[in-house]
């Protein structure tokens, strides 16, 4: 009996060793890299060498993979290597973005250095969704006014200058009105932490990547890539198609408190892409959203707001001026001007010290719009790379009413036939 037992133990030992050797032989030969920023060896490229560089600002030989994505840098086992990744495939999700993209030298610096991106994005109205929630709670009598009190997550900004310094987390279970509960089930799909609606035309990531990873450009060119979510890119070249993963994708029906999504993704932008009743000047349908709307309008300025119009301030007159005033301008004299940094990230324009740019009423540089010698202006499309020439209103035959400077008034004469 003892002999059988010894044989069984010996056989088990040999079998165990053979299985271990077989598993070892299946591991690929590691490809190591030591990013200059971390100085720590990582083996991620063993399996991911084919991935394209995520952006020119984040070269892999400088940043590596683990600094942003997390993970077990020395593991050759896929499950173990990926087990501690931040945010799954998306380290920019707001639940992990501070660990992935933060740091004083990266994206959680100070506003004076213009690198407080995380603080601004996570307090923006696109992230908090405070405006929509406030509107619904006001409509159904929960609040006496439209001032935001809750967001999709709790956030505090003690130094906010908007009059709102904190938002509590929206908790549908505490709401007594059934319409607000239905709203919470059906209508919280368009903030930056929400997963997109089903359908390739809605596909986007969450967090920073909702805007900065071009899923819709990829969709238009490579449907397979978007279906497999294998998009490894960060960019400031954000086309209107990316904005439309949330905007212009359907209508809210307040009778049923549901979102009625559009199913089409038309390519005829003027005639059948937008809502039929809307009016547009050529700027609004020919340019990309980011050609006019600034970084703080889209990403916030670090304050908490109740409604979109509190942060979105660009109007026709910002670029075209009025009958009596030209648009505001700034001549670049400081090589550290923010305009140079923004133009570096998306080099559609070759800016030089001495160039004169348009600036907004809040002194934000419209870095893609340069003043030409003849008193006209040239705009370089940030996403389509096209050059557009336009004139100021002053000196033209425009009949504008100086007291009415909203775009709706301009539409009365300048909207396109649809």
């Amino acid at each position: 009996m003892r002999r059988y037992f010894l044989l069984a133990v010996s056989f088990s030992l040999l079998l165990g060793l053979l299985v271990t050797a077989w598993q070892e032989s299946r591991h690929p030969t590691p490809i190591s890299q030591t990013p200059t920023l971390t100085g720590q060896v990582e083996y991620c490229l063993t399996c991911h060498a084919e991935l394209e560089e995520i952006s020119s600002s984040h070269p892999v030989n400088t940043f590596g993979c683990v600094l942003c994505h997390g993970g077990e840098r020395l593991s050759l086992d896929a499950n173990l290597a990926h087990s501690t990744m931040r945010g799954g495939k998306n380290p920019s999700d707001f639940t992990v973005v501070q660990d992935s993209c933060g740091g004083a030298n990266c994206h959680s610096g100070i506003s004076e250095s213009n690198n407080d991106h995380i603080q601004r994005a996570t307090t923006s109205i696109q992230a908090t969704y405070a405006g929509a929630i406030a509107n619904i709670r006001y409509t159904f009598g929960i609040r006496p006014d439209l001032k935001a009190g809750v967001g999709v997550f709790a956030v505090q900004v003690p130094r906010s200058t908007s009059g709102i310094t904190e938002l509590a987390a929206f908790d549908p279970t505490q709401e007594t009105n059934p319409f607000i509960q239905i709203f919470s089930q059906n209508c919280l799909t368009c903030h930056l932490s929400a997963l997109p609606l089903p359908g390739k035309e809605y596909f986007r990531f969450t967090g920073c990547s909702a805007c900065h990873t071009p899923t819709q450009s990829a969709y238009l060119s490579d449907a397979d890539q978007i279906q497999s979510n294998q998009i490894h890119k960060l960019t400031t070249v954000i086309s209107y198609t990316q904005c439309d993963t949330c905007h212009n994708r359907g209508n809210y029906d307040l009778r049923t408190m549901t979102f009625e999504p559009r199913q089409d993704l038309s390519t005829d932008r003027l005639h059948d892409y937008y809502q039929p009743i809307a009016q547009f000047t050529s700027c609004e349908w020919m340019l990309d959203c980011i050609d006019c709307h600034t970084r703080t309008e889209a990403m916030g300025d670090g304050n908490l707001y109740s409604v979109k119009k509190d942060i979105q301030y660009i109007q026709c007159k910002t670029c075209h001026g009025t009958l009596t005033e030209l648009p505001q301008i700034r001549t670049l004299t400081d090589p550290n001007d923010l305009a140079f940094r923004l133009a570096l990230l998306n080099p559609v324009i070759d800016l030089k010290v001495g160039d004169t740019l348009l600036v907004t009423e809040k002194n934000e540089p419209l870095w893609n719009i340069r003043v030409l010698p003849g008193g006209t202006y040239e705009l370089f499309g940030k996403a389509d790379d096209q050059r557009y020439i336009f004139r100021p209103v002053k000196g033209s035959a425009c009949l504008q009413d100086l007291t009415r400077q909203d775009s709706g008034s301009c539409h009365q004469c300048h909207s396109e036939e649809r």
Partner: protein, 140 residues
């Protein structure tokens, strides 16, 4: 016919011994492999650049593997690191100075910052002429 029939006991003994021997060899092989694992070498901090005569006075030589720019100035040999002090990208050497393609920092030809976000100059690296008139560059 041979008379040497193997008894069951002897067979079990032999089989056990064979399996244990194979296991031992396999285990020793694994141990040998483990002990011979080559760890990734640390990045070198010392580089031999060959004869000093290869770098005539006034020359500017790009050393991409370090990465650094070797200058033969009137005062002698000196080298400027091409690692950006902001986040570690490799800066590009241009006639007017140095440019970081990652975040746009600029430096004059001496490595002094002229545009952020970098807030420190490019590092000067020590270059030594050996007794046999060759150049040795130190990155630390």
């Amino acid at each position: 016919m041979s008379n040497r029939n193997l008894s069951r006991r002897d067979f079990l003994k032999l089989a056990s011994a064979a399996i244990l021997t194979a296991s031992g060899l396999l285990g020793l092989g694994g141990l040998f492999r483990f002990l011979n694992t080559q760890t990734a070498p640390l990045p070198p901090d010392e580089f031999l650049l060959g004869p000093a005569s290869n770098y005539p006075p006034g020359s500017r030589t790009l050393l991409p593997d370090i990465p650094a720019l070797l200058l033969h100035a009137q005062s002698g040999f000196l080298a400027i690191s091409l690692i950006c002090p902001h986040l570690g990208c490799t800066v590009e050497s241009k006639p007017e100075g140095f440019f970081c393609p990652c975040h746009g920092s600029r430096f004059d030809p001496q490595g002094t910052v002229t545009r952020g976000p970098a807030n420190k100059p490019l590092r000067n690296l020590r270059v030594e002429v050996t007794s046999d008139n060759k150049l040795r560059l130190y990155t630390n």
